[in-house]
């Protein structure tokens, strides 16, 4: 998922640099304000541990292997704001020193892995933990769900960035990236559960308690919900766009867009024939998300109401 240089158009790269800088600056301020001085070495060493932890692979099949990526685990262990800083450190050093992801594309990579990854992890983990009322199975279920969705949603974001840059048409990038990462996410989920099981057995106080309502946690929670909803709506919309080719070509000429009159672009976007199908996919996306959450909430409530009776 580390996008190298050359695959994003300059404009897209800069837009995501700005977004990442804003998010990161806020996270740094929160980390500096809310957390003790003890956190500084903790975050640095955790970043190193995530990097080293990515070496702990397990064979999947035919010479391929899965390994940890870590956004969800970092979020669960240290909370959302420090996790943003930790993941930023990991992703930046990977780009700067190991060419794992480009320098100009680093803004987008940070946005996907440090900001989206952490916000979505936190949103899923905090909601599910609260619903399961601190039951031990809830820890593992929420850890798995947080890890899977952080990978999956971040990959959708990467696919859309590639599509916006005109590198890969959205109707190919979204299913390809999403499909591959839905599988990678399962590996990430399993490893995260393994790590949580180990920590639960050895240091229950690190992971056992439901996440304390972190200051500003509500904001991250809402951000995670917003991102998850937005991307699950945008990606099918983008890939269902019947005229993906022209759309991409237009994105390619994004820089020229400033020179071309705006009305040249608009008719292609809001043609009634297009918007019907688009509307359908949007509705389907929202509906799907709501159904998933409905099921989760229902299961959690059944479980909760069942407990006192038992």
């Amino acid at each position: 998922m580390h996008i190298p240089d050359g695959f994003l158009s300059t404009l897209v790269a800069i837009i995501f640099w700005v977004s990442s800088i804003v998010g990161l600056a806020y996270a740094l301020r929160r980390t500096g304000k809310d957390l003790g001085e003890r956190q500084v070495p903790l975050m640095g060493v955790l970043a190193a541990a995530i990097f080293a932890g990515q070496m702990l692979n397990f064979s999947v099949t035919g010479g391929t292997s899965g390994h940890l990526l870590g956004a969800a685990l970092a979020t669960i262990l240290v909370g959302p704001w420090p996790a943003v800083v930790v993941m930023t450190t990991v992703v930046s050093v990977q780009a700067l020193v190991f060419q794992d992801g480009g320098l100009l594309a680093l803004g987008a990579n940070l946005f996907n892995m440090a900001i989206i990854g952490v916000a979505v992890s936190y949103f899923v983990y905090a909601s599910l933990r609260r619903m399961t009322r601190g039951a031990s199975w809830g820890l593992f279920a929420s850890g798995f769900a947080a890890a899977w969705s952080s990978i999956f949603i971040a990959s959708l974001a990467a696919a859309l960035q590639l599509a916006l840059s005109g590198t890969t048409p959205a109707n190919l990038a979204v299913p390809a990236m999403g499909g591959i990462h839905a599988l990678i996410g399962v590996g990430e989920g399993l490893i995260t559960v393994g790590a949580l099981a180990f920590l639960y057995a050895t240091r229950r106080e690190m992971v056992g308690a439901a996440p304390a309502a972190a200051k500003g946690g509500r904001g991250v929670w809402a951000l995670g919900l917003g991102i998850a909803l937005l991307l699950s709506v945008l990606s099918p919309l983008a890939s269902a766009h019947p005229d993906g080719l022209e759309w991409v070509a237009e994105q390619e000429g994004f820089l020229e867009a400033a020179r071309t009159p705006l009305f040249n672009l608009i008719p292609d976007y809001v043609l009634p024939g297009v918007s019907n199908e688009a509307l359908a996919t949007i509705l389907a996306g929202i509906l799907g998300t709501l159904i998933v959450f409905g099921v989760v909430v229902a299961v959690a409530y059944l479980r909760r109401s069942g407990k006192p009776a038992a």
Binding site: D5, F7, G44, V45, L162, T168
Partner: protein
């Protein structure tokens, strides 16, 4: 032995590096005229005496980023500009003493991602060049599509070369100073520094964990070695073992950070992250910076004016 551990093909470039040079794990190397240092397989820095190595890290950092930005801004089809940009990259590679082969070999590690751009070759409208069926689809390879694909690949390939020269000719400490010089927040730079300081320690921990795992479980790399049996149970079980190791690594990291914190306290740490005052950029390096930026600016202008 170590190559056994890294039988899988997963995260580049860590494993590729390991596979290329597993002996580098063995650690301390004595080099004449230098103190005993732990040469780690991960560190891409190659200590050499060259004008590129001697150039101020801040100047190198800014020039590398400016180079990548110029590559990114160069319009489609401006092949002469790409050629000139490549000549700049090549001269940096030769001047640095790293060798063109070394840089190109490392650059190849970043290539698999071009898969993402392959659809361009088929979806760009233009002169059909080659048509062939693939399952239910009829694919049309167009000349324009191929050129667009080549354009993306060339951009990526040029950018990664600049990044490799920067990382291989600049010590991490100098990169940290460069990041301070371009006003990256102090806390973040301190994070980078701390991570780098403990990265090798924790990678060694991870390698010990993996060695322990393979010692416990044994490895049959090919089905022929143990017919009918696969090592290590189901996929979920293997993932859980790897997860346990990750948890173990995290626990060791947290314990270590406690010890580091106490050590920092005993040296007068008061919660404030400090950094050394930076030296001004020497005049010679300043000239190099401006010449480099002017050259890149000219190339960019030329690309925009002729092909834009």
């Amino acid at each position: 032995m170590l190559s056994l551990i890294f039988a899988g093909a997963g995260s580049p470039p860590l494993e590729s590096l390991l596979r290329a040079n597993p002996r580098a794990l063995l650690g301390a190397v004595v080099r004449p005229g230098r103190p005993l240092v732990h040469i780690h397989f991960l560190d891409p820095y190659r200590p050499l005496a060259s004008p590129v190595h001697d150039l101020d890290g801040r100047v190198k950092f800014i020039l590398a980023v400016a180079f990548i930005l110029t590559v990114s801004l160069t319009p489609f089809g401006a092949w002469p500009v790409y050629l000139l940009l490549w000549s700049i990259a090549l001269s940096a590679e030769i001047l640095s003493g790293l060798g063109v082969g070394y840089v190109l070999r490392r650059a190849a590690l970043a290539l698999p991602f071009v898969l993402a751009a392959i659809p361009l070759a088929f979806t760009t409208p233009g002169t059909p060049w080659l048509e062939f069926p693939l399952g239910p689809w009829q694919l049309t390879l167009t000349l324009d599509g191929l050129l667009r694909f080549a354009n993306v690949a060339v951009k990526s390939w040029l950018s990664v070369q600049a990044a490799i020269v920067l990382a291989s000719s600049t010590e991490f400490r100098d990169l940290l100073l460069a990041m301070r010089a371009v006003r990256i927040p102090r806390l973040l730079v301190a994070m980078f520094g701390l991570m780098w300081r403990y990265l090798f320690v924790l990678v060694d921990e991870a390698v010990r964990l993996m060695r322990a795992r393979s010692a416990r479980s044994g490895i049959a790399r090919r089905p022929a070695d143990a017919p009918g049996r696969r090592p290590g149970g189901s996929l979920a079980w293997r993932a859980k073992v790897a997860g346990g190791m990750a948890g173990n690594l995290f626990l060791r990291a947290v314990d270590r950070s406690d010890r580091i914190y106490v050590a920092m306290l005993s040296r007068g740490y008061d919660g404030e992250v400090r950094s050394f005052a930076t030296q001004p950029v020497p005049p010679g390096a300043r000239v190099t910076l401006w010449i480099g930026l002017a050259l890149l600016g000219l190339l960019w202008l030329g690309g925009i004016l002729v092909w834009g």
